[in-house]
Symmetry: D2
Subunit: 269 residues, 4 copies
């Protein structure tokens, strides 16, 4: 399908503040970006770079006053996300080396502390996709999805204690559980068509059967219509904006995903 995805950020800046933003749709996967706008007001110098995960980053210094960032992209994406019951666990020895970082514990996914729970949940299942399916179902059933319930990221341990969370929190817990049984898992930040209430979204992908598969603990039925912004080990890697110091404040963020029509040639990833 064709989607137009837009994000509007309005900051109040009290003193010169460095920001690193990730707001452009990801390049290099099966989503085709055919129009893109990236407007910053006032006009300031922006330094673009690509991080080790392939995410585009924009660095800038916000000056005192209002800062407005408006991004909008028109993108072709698959209508459906692939499902692959039975897809096999890949032995560590056979993983592509760029997948290895997604086996390690990270800031918000303390996978070194979840082995017992993950093994209890999955010991009787075929290694791979089916274990992830069980883990994600367990997260969905045991952690209440409460959009807007947290202002800053909390870690998988904290999510489990608390029993509720935003999309990112549920994804972090699922990722920690997958990694603890040696299944590579990464956080995805992006847009999701028809998300209610509309906002930026986060979900996870796991590497089984020699490719990455999408999972979303906030949904009972896995939807397509996803536009990826960034991949990372967890929210520390893929913050939409990372602010250095206390010199500015996000006043407002608006997100839109508009359906622009059918796209004949991308059906399923």
């Amino acid at each position: 399908m064709k989607l137009r995805v837009s994000c509007h950020l309005r900051f109040q800046v009290f003193e010169n503040t460095a920001l690193i933003l990730m707001l452009r749709p990801f390049r290099g996967i099966q989503q085709i970006i055919y129009r893109e706008a990236y407007i910053v007001k006032p006009l300031i110098s922006i330094l673009e770079s690509t991080d080790s995960f392939g995410n585009g980053c924009q660095r800038l210094i916000a000056s005192m006053g209002a800062l407005l960032i408006h991004t909008s992209s028109e993108v072709l994406v698959p209508d459906n996300a692939a499902i692959a019951i039975g897809a096999q666990f890949i032995e560590i020895q056979n993983l592509p080396y760029e997948v290895l970082p997604f086996l390690l514990p990270s800031r918000y996914c303390e996978s070194d502390r979840f082995g017992d729970l993950a093994r209890t949940l999955t010991f009787d299942l075929s290694p791979g996709y089916d274990q992830v399916y069980k883990i994600v179902s367990w997260v969905r059933e045991n952690i209440q999805y409460l959009p807007g319930s947290s202002d800053y990221p909390v870690s998988a341990i904290e999510v489990q204690q608390r029993g509720f969370g935003v999309c990112r929190d549920l994804a972090h817990l699922a990722i920690a559980l997958c990694r603890s049984i040696s299944i590579p898992a990464r956080l995805v930040a992006g847009y999701l068509h028809n998300l209610q209430p509309m906002d930026l979204h986060a979900w996870l992908e796991v590497y089984v059967g020699n490719q990455w598969y999408t999972f979303d603990p906030t949904q009972t039925h896995l939807q397509g219509g996803r536009v990826v912004i960034a991949y990372g080990r967890d929210a520390a890697d893929v913050a939409v904006f990372h602010q250095f110091g206390l010199g500015c404040l996000l006043n407002r963020m608006d997100v839109w995903v508009d359906y622009l029509g059918n796209s004949p040639f991308i059906k399923t990833l």
Copy 2:
């Protein structure tokens, strides 16, 4: 200044043909891309990746019939290109490692065969920028710049024998001469404001005084208003399109560079 740069390609395709294109303005340098369109008709699947020089590449399979590619970007770029008389030669030991490939001979820059000429031209000059300045002046004075004079790239040796060439040819010869005295040099493909006749353009950058400096053997006065598309060792690395096999033909290419106004904050790189 603000520029809108556009390139329109029209292919006739006789049988399924793979193409690799480099048509998006380069990211990660002091040019800010704030709007971009990338339209392919008919809609086909495109695979984006980034090569080892940081260039964005688009891979696609063209199907029988007409293929139209239309790219357009609005970009902020410096009004002037920096000049740095006296900037010093950087010892090999002190070059950043990502600069090293630009010391080696390459397909169209046989720097292993130009040492005698380069030393003759530059032996009495301060090592670095001033040597390059001399080399580029020598190319300008000895190789006639004839836009449209060649259909396919020829190498520095061939350019010198022939005595004339397109922008790319003059750049290749200058690059070969610079590298032959251990000055890193790279080819730049891009757009140039006010180029006559309008077309895509190619020039070179050399690494002296701890940064890359622009040189253009087709111009007596070094202009700003440059939008970089890609960097490479020579035209083999930065072909606007690379076609695999004989299954298609570029029928027409149109290029526009429109001045959109002053930009207050980028004066000189």
Copy 3:
């Protein structure tokens, strides 16, 4: 000085187990490796790769029985580690892009929770080296260094609560504090000449004044004679060995650092 550094690992393997090891001295910095041995018994297939930090990794599948890994290297290293009182904080905008990951919170360095403490410790100091010096001194004075006191990594928050730790723990806390005031900091795993008791060691480096500087919260006087094995955001990135599953056990690890003589040409980094 010239050092011979050796590490001997003996595993008991109960079932086929994947391991990722980091045991070779790091390449690409001012330490010259002129002899190296890497012996695995029994002989098994090893897959080497380089991670995004430049660390060499060895992947292997350990089979049932004993597994012995013996590495030994002869290396030239600086006699002293540089000290740079007054070296300036580098603005985010001016950091090389490969330094940026070391600003983010990570598994064992929850820098997003240490801003208040770091600002309290350093508010009256010149931004940069002097702040780090204060932070590291504070860690040394407030966290008891107890070699052998922990079996698995704990995080900076846990270290602060606990009040004691191994070299890695003290480094993690210092790193979290530095990053929380936007100073890039990374964990270093390596060998240290004259360490008592001899073991593998961990310390930190911070990026100020446009280069990385060594700090070591376990020492009152900063020693040279350091051989770097690996760099990372924290111990999750630079585990000497990372074991997948519960199928093997490290029975014994022996470490030696032997002084082989003076080296005339590397004095200080």
Copy 4:
């Protein structure tokens, strides 16, 4: 099999000269380096880095007088090189992106000029391995292999005109022919067990059937016992030593490959 490979270089240095060397066996493939020595006399500072192909490079400044470099490694390598009659051509769209550079023309492999010859040789063959087999046989039969016949690299066009060459020259011509029909091909520099006369060796690898396969136009029967030093587009990328300026001279190079015994676990790659 187990091999000990050694290379001894002796330079006479007239004035300070920068050198970039590639002399360590390549890491990250199915060859296990279990001992390595890298001795430079006099002891001088060496800067190691990894190029975009994964090759380890050593940069140094040679000072006036004699410079001796002695490298020696003990390595486990496959007894045989795989042969794969019928392995299929991989469509451009399906090539891993890191393979793409090996499709382009390069300094010594002017693949943009060999399409007619390559198509004539291979038009009636199944696309892929069988075409390469034909090309390599044609090179073997038409270009005389004369070890020691050239001091510096010449290009595929020059090799074809001349009708004879060293191992590197034959490989360059075969590579140019393969690339001209869109088969990725790369030059390999390394050691070969039982080579007569003993020297460093060069051959090629091509990417078909989703992996790299070894070809050697100097041999009628494809031997195993190969230790890879470096990969590249051609000899410009993989020079054993690259000297900047005229300030030094290689007086002597000695190469040994010693058979150390059978290795039970690596039979064929």
